[in-house]
């Protein structure tokens, strides 16, 4: 595809108004992608915005979805997914849950863009295609999300009309998918890091009171730490109360008694 230079004077290069519009849409989508800030967005909300930008970047698109995949896990591939429109979410349900086949999976496994202009009769996806065709969606362009040496997911772009996506759309899609892959994967890293540190912080901050409660129970009735923890968990399950709250209550009651006894002596 010819590089777009608005000041070009080369008469051998001509830009149709449609091409100019398409490139402007792509530029706007790439600018939006670069401006995503994650700290106030969850990963799936960020992915939903990427899906929206993808639908804007590809000419003729009626909607798009972004999926993070683990291609090495055939039975549990999808790590996260988001859609620009409800009908795309419905198609995702068909692809990943109902039939476990479709253009996104193919694009991710083959690491190549995949296109179809007539999903209803698409031989590559004999169970997916007709189901989606009956929804009134007939064209698809799926682009793998690639980081060096790895496929991390795919972008799926859909249109209701037949034969909407051509080579030009595929090239524009690839230009969008490259930085999108990095943005989404890095957002996933950040999300995972936040999840890991949050889990550790919460567990480490509540463990002391649980250990104190274990000590209290051991002191009252003997037994091992494991037996005392089991007892705490039984109380937690019986009362439908978090383990840490049960421990806190037990310790607080004992501390109140100890303080009352101290005042009395």
């Amino acid at each position: 595809m010819t590089d777009f230079d608005p000041d070009a004077r080369d008469p051998s290069v001509s830009f149709s108004p449609e091409l100019v519009d398409d490139l402007a849409d792509l530029q706007a989508s790439l600018t939006n992608l670069a401006g995503l800030v994650t700290d106030s967005l969850g990963l799936e909300e960020l992915m939903a915005r990427v899906a929206t930008f993808a639908a804007q970047a590809i000419p003729g698109a009626d909607g798009a979805g972004v999926t993070l995949l683990r291609v090495d896990r055939p039975d549990n591939r999808v790590e996260a997914l988001a859609a620009s429109h409800p009908f795309v979410a419905e198609i995702d349900e068909i692809q990943y849950v109902t039939v476990n086949e479709g253009p996104c999976i193919t694009a991710a496994l083959e690491r190549q863009p995949v296109r179809s202009g007539s999903l209803g009769g698409e031989a590559r996806w004999p169970r997916f295609g007709p189901r989606v065709g009956r929804l009134g969606v007939h064209s698809v362009l799926s682009l793998p999300l690639l980081i060096p040496g790895q496929v991390v997911g795919a972008i799926n772009v859909y249109a209701r009309e037949h034969d909407v996506f051509d080579e030009h759309a595929e090239r524009l899609g690839e230009l969008f998918a490259a930085p999108a892959a990095v943005a989404v994967h890095n957002a996933q890293i950040l999300t995972q890091a936040l999840r890991l540190t949050a889990q550790l912080q919460t567990a480490l901050s509540t463990r002391p009171v649980i250990d104190q409660a274990i000590g209290l129970l051991r002191g009252r009735s003997g037994g091992t730490a494991e037996e005392a923890f089991t007892r705490l968990r039984e109380i937690s399950q019986a009362e439908h109360t978090k383990l840490s709250e049960v421990a806190r209550r037990i310790v607080d009651e004992a501390v109140r008694r100890a303080r009352a006894r101290h005042l009395d002596t």
């Binding site: 994650t38 990095v182 996933q188 000590g215």
Partner: protein, 202 residues
């Protein structure tokens, strides 16, 4: 990624502590490491830097299979937009074998959380991550090293000590016995059926 038996045991205890169905902290750690490995080709592993209250930091390191601390050429402390909670802070340090391997990731992460690149710590943890003691004589590092003290505190609270009195008792008992507070706590737990006759809330 190689997770030592000691770290796996600690993570199992912490997972129980979370009490959230479907959550496994060891699995969260593995998934994070897998994502980091995919983003950075020369990724070697990570460290968890845990600080509890005014205590000394505990660093737990998990390296990829076959990786060695001597291979570390660059590090990244993950820029995380999070304040310490309840006196506990956890930092993630990543290691890689190729200089400059984290530059792009650091820039993207800073952009995503709205921080300047100068705020991120790259190559500030280049001392080789702590390798396991080859002699096997030293106890493995644990983020739960205070567990015995907390349990002993609970035992003493049950005997009428306030938390402050329990802390003073353990410290005094440690000094008298020539052991550290951990040793004093272990003694309390070992003699649950035989309270010290001199034990008095002070």
């Amino acid at each position: 990624m190689e997770i030592t038996a000691a770290l796996a045991a600690d993570l199992a205890v912490l997972t129980q502590t979370l009490d959230e169905p479907g959550t496994d902290i060891a699995e969260t750690l593995r998934q994070f490491a897998a994502d980091a490995r995919r983003a950075v080709p020369s990724y070697l592993g990570l460290s968890l830097l845990v600080v509890r209250g005014a205590g000394l930091p505990v660093t737990i390191t998990a390296l990829e299979h076959g990786a060695a601390p001597s291979q570390v050429q660059t590090t990244l402390r993950m820029p995380l937009p999070r304040e310490p909670g309840d006196g506990v802070s956890v930092a993630l340090i990543l290691y890689a074998a190729r200089p400059g391997a984290f530059v792009d990731l650091a820039a993207d992460l800073c952009w995503m959380i709205g921080e300047r690149l100068s705020a991120v710590a790259v190559d500030e943890h280049l001392l080789a991550p702590a390798a396991p003691d080859p002699s096997g004589l030293l106890p493995p590092l644990s983020v739960l090293s205070g567990s015995a003290i907390d349990q002993a505190t609970g035992v003493l609270i049950g005997r009428g000590f306030t938390p402050a009195q329990a802390q003073r008792y353990l410290a005094a008992h440690a000094a008298e016995s020539g052991v550290d507070v951990h040793g004093a706590a272990d003694r309390v737990l070992a003699h649950l059926d035989e309270p010290d006759p001199d034990e008095q809330p002070g």
